[in-house]
Symmetry: C2
Subunit: 102 residues, 2 copies
DNA sequence: TTGTTACTTGACAATAAATGTCAAATATAG
DNA sequence: CTATATTTGACATTTATTGTCAAGTAACAA
């Protein structure tokens, strides 16, 4: 099970790219990229898209990893975590099937 | 499918309590409670506990509704929402089974 | 109408969280 | 040691969240 950071770092290193190079492409400070790769900071969606481009990763897959990471860390310390996910799924289905629930 | 706000408001009205009374018990401005009941603001966990007490709601169940609400709204507009939840579940299991993953 | 009660709304300040920038510190390799 | 790559932390800035308050609406009774 890889975190976003691990995915990004592994791919970058496999491609033989430096933090400096990738961060320049993404147009962020390399300190930020370093932190993203160690899960100390979260990338924005714009960053993710750029990262997917330069690292030749699937954009959608990366987004899924990103959001699921965020959610996992959000509720991992709740002891009702799995129930929360089940209820959330129901709610999402409901929200999607009901336009403008307000 | 009820939101947290609806749950709180319904129960409060069924018990014949006023915003003023409940907000006094929870020790918040009644404007805040009004907003919470209309999902314009999110309660803190402390508020939720107090609310569960005075409204005779199950504390854990309310917390589950609260967190799942938050997650549902967070990802409802992603078209990969259900996949996200599946991946998140795996990550949580992984995180829980691995002490101090860092 | 007038007054009362319950609730809502929006502006505002205070607080906290996320973000970006930078330079110094620490590796790691030659 | 030198040079290059990465990490760390302090700091300022921006953005969200939160609480407070007073004025606003709505429903109803007198």
């Amino acid at each position: 099970m890889e975190t976003i950071g691990q995915i990004l770092r592994n791919k970058r290193q496999n491609l033989g790219l430096l933090l400096r190079q990738v961060s320049a492409y993404v147009d962020i400070d390399q300190a930020i990229l370093s932190k993203i790769e160690r899960n100390e900071r979260k990338p924005t969606k714009e960053m993710l898209e750029k990262l997917a481009e330069i690292l030749k990763l699937d954009k959608d897959e990366l987004l899924i990893q990103f959001i699921s990471d965020k959610i996992a860390y959000e509720i991992v310390d709740e002891d009702c975590a799995s129930k929360v996910l089940k209820v959330a799924e129901k709610k999402i289905k409901y929200l999607k099937s009901n336009p403008i629930p307000n």
